[in-house]
Amino acid sequence: MDTSGIKPLGMEKFWLGVLLAPTIIGLIFGAFGSVLATLLISFTNWDFLRPPVWTGLANYIALFKDEKLLTPLVNTLKFTALYVPGVVAISLAVAILLNRKIRGVGMFRTAYYLPVVTSAVAAALVWQMIYGRDAGLLNFIIEKLGFAPVCWFCEKNALISVVIVNIWGAIGEGMIIFLAGLQSIPRDYYEAATVDGADAGQLFRRITLPLITPSIFFMTLITTINSFQAYEYIYMLTRRGQGDSSVPVVVFSIYRNAFNFHRMGQASAMAIELAVIVAALMLLYFWLERRYVVYE
């Protein structure tokens, strides 16, 4: 047992309980109790009107058999495969450029961070104008440059259009995390290597890249978690009639099944599916961390 810290005496044990009570309540209601409850509900058929009926694994089998439930999973995985590398690579590139000693760093940092503080709802409204097929800003520019206009939310393009907006909204946060990582690399390393005749490429491969791996690991981790929860831009940009979406993702589908269709069991099975995939990816990441991440 960790023996550092101040020992509570007498009545203070009660006060320790008070300090910890919200956290413990949160662990029960907000986290583990909820996972357990969701798991239980996922084995039932429940519409809130009649009592739940135990259906075993039926909801889970439907996840893979019913195309309406499989499509969101496929979309989420595609989204993640594009979004996570996109955010990590672009925000690392921006951070590396900003880490060069140039003037105007503050101004650039503000510009790149601005989308992070903006609500996705507000940003999506303006992106809707930018992406517009006939009167959108982007097609206006594309046509001025002499190319054919693009239908940004037609079948194949919709997913990529949504990914672009999501990346746009996330670069700022990654930039800050990578800048902090880059600035924690001691300057002496570069100076010593330069004296030994290393060129810029070698400096990057031999010093920057290995020493930035903890930040890359951390960013990949949180970006993946965020990716599986991405919802707002998708809701705002791909909504169609009757509350459907042209690019439904898992979170969208959970919301829709639970709160539009009142299929609590099916929605819960999807939530568990989401949690299991995220957990599996986390295990993979931590395994990769042991092998590839360099801690000083």
């Binding site: 662990l27 969701t38 609500s119 303006v126 800050i176 902090a180 978690i225 919802y231 809701y235 709160f259």
Partner: protein, 283 residues
């Protein structure tokens, strides 16, 4: 001499490339905001004109938000709910963080590990059971589900504050202990005042999340424009106004809705940056 000139020239070339790349990127980042501002001041008839300077410029779109749409009410709701969330998170996360960082008790590491694990559980897993509990309590259709959970701590805030508390020298607490200070006094008079930067960072993040949240208000208050938030309101107007050909009003609404956070961001850039760095690197 010639070699150092070469290095100089290469350095200026690299600087030039850096500026061009960063500048192009910055334009892409900022253009949507410029477009939002430009459209918000255009006449509805000019909504599709491709100019950055509206001519003629008008405030009619903002007037419409105030007069014809329940915008002040929605802003007030969002402001009230975000403030309650900030209070709840600051209070309960700092309590938990202090216990984890300073107090010795059995099961501390286990409890903290459990808390960290929850960082990896997608929040949507809790959505359905929480909805059911709030339904049983008869709280659907009220604002309670949108602020009550802020009062049961949370992994992110507790972790952020604990990391900060750990940087405060333990000697301070131990000296106060020798002088007879109780745990609560040490918490209130030593740790909280010293943790102002971290508390500010958590306050800003919480306000931002709460202000920008769409999913939860959509679940708990989807249609009641008297009680619901700005984000739900904007999503609701999106459908009406786009069909009515009023992108200008929509952009005015979007602009007003992001203004509070943009202002906070410009006033408190340091807290944003330090807050992210604190959770990002001091693991």
């Amino acid at each position: 001499m010639s070699k150092s000139m070469g290095i100089q020239a290469r350095r200026s070339l690299m600087d030039g490339i850096t500026y061009i790349l960063l500048g192009l990127g910055a334009i892409i980042m900022v253009l949507p905001f410029l477009w939002m501002v430009a459209t918000a001041f255009k006449m509805p008839a000019d909504q599709y004109t491709k100019t950055l300077i509206p001519s003629p410029a008008t405030l009619a779109n903002f007037r419409e938000l105030w007069v014809n749409l329940p915008f002040p009410r929605l802003m007030l709701n969002s402001f009230w709910l975000s403030t309650l969330n900030v209070i709840g998170q600051l209070l309960t996360c700092s309590m938990g963080a202090f216990a984890f960082a300073v107090v010795r008790f059995r099961g501390r590491n286990l409890l903290f590990t459990l808390l960290l694990i929850t960082l990896m559980i997608p929040g949507q897993v809790a959505l359905i059971p929480n909805f059911i509990i709030f339904k049983w309590l008869g709280l659907i259709g009220t604002q309670v589900p949108l602020w009550l959970p802020a009062f049961w701590g949370g992994a992110f805030g507790t972790f952020l504050l604990r990391q900060f508390f750990l940087t405060i020298p333990r000697d301070l607490a131990e000296a106060a202990r020798v002088d007879g200070a109780s745990l609560i006094e040490i918490f209130w008079h030593i740790y909280l005042p010293l943790a102002k930067p971290a508390l500010a960072a958590l306050a800003i993040f919480t306000f931002q999340w709460s202000w920008n949240d769409l999913l939860h208000p959509l679940v708990y208050l989807p249609t009641d424009l008297k009680k619901t938030t700005l984000t739900v309101g904007l999503a609701f107007f999106q459908q009406q106004l786009v069909q009515g050909g009023k992108f200008t009003v929509l952009m005015a609404g979007a602009l007003v809705s992001i203004l509070p956070l943009v202002i906070i961001f410009f006033l408190a850039q340091k807290q944003f940056v330090e807050g992210i760095a604190l959770t990002g690197i001091k693991r």
